[in-house]
Symmetry: D3
Subunit: 67 residues, 6 copies
């Protein structure tokens, strides 16, 4: 019954990439802890770059500086 929440910035992640994240995270729980995939949830949250900060500044500001 694991629950995995992946939070990333909203920068054009395709449905195929999301499928890979979901498949990979589920497999990780199966491989490492022997969890049942049928009761393993993976939820991806895409967060606007204005809403994510690191080192006291937004990702929007960091992207403008090429970071």
């Amino acid at each position: 019954m694991p629950y995995v929440n992946i939070r990333i910035t909203n920068e054009g992640v395709t449905p195929e990439k999301k499928e890979q994240l979901i498949k990979g995270a589920t497999q990780l729980l199966v491989d490492v802890l022997g969890k049942n995939p049928n009761t393993t949830f993976v939820v991806i949250d895409e967060v606007d770059t204005d809403n994510w900060g690191i080192a006291g500044e937004t990702i929007t500001a960091r992207r403008k500086k090429g970071q």
Copy 2:
């Protein structure tokens, strides 16, 4: 002061249904634990079906298969 977070897929939940979830979850905390409703928060997150996985595949893929 409970905080309840309900995460569901984004599949056309009406404002009326949301009101019922909020009312019901608040009442549950009042009934079971005697909490004060005035300081009980309920937050509903609606998640795109591409972003929610179970058993290693997205809800989008499962819906296509009739699950």
Copy 3:
């Protein structure tokens, strides 16, 4: 596939009360949205009263004042 997270203060909630919260929250999702209980998760987090604040003060401080 709903995921419900109930966060409350850690003040002696019994296993029986937790069962009631889990049963009640699951039933709420079944009743309001027709969700499948077999893929409905409810996770209860018990938070120390020193670690929960409201109105800028801890629950520990509020309990001492009879709130």
Copy 4:
């Protein structure tokens, strides 16, 4: 390595206000706990007023009553 998640209602918060929240929350962790800002994340979630409940009713309903 702190992670701060600020959840507020989605009511027209400007990018400038978000920058202030991110800067302020990061500085708080630096000032109080001596954390390294370079590994301090702040994530702001804006929640629709239909999806946030307090006292068993939505913020939408409360706003209509002038609360």
Copy 5:
């Protein structure tokens, strides 16, 4: 800057297993989205089996029935 939160039941997960989860989840974000591992956080929450419910009953109850 991804943030990954893995929630599992508290059933004797060793530090070595936790290292594998952290390494694997970080690598997944690097491989699929090209994220920088230096700003990728993975946080594991271990939840008491009394506090995790599925299908309306606790994991404690399910374990007793051999599930």
Copy 6:
């Protein structure tokens, strides 16, 4: 009605430091967004250093290397 969740490592944070975090985060929401402190929650989660990873390794491992 903001909800602020501060997640830090469990490394001997005193009750006084927690009070400062709660007071400071609440004041930030009042100052920047004009929120009502009476309905502002701050919840601090202390996470074991074995359970927090950055750059693919645990904080426990990083602390041993003096980071």
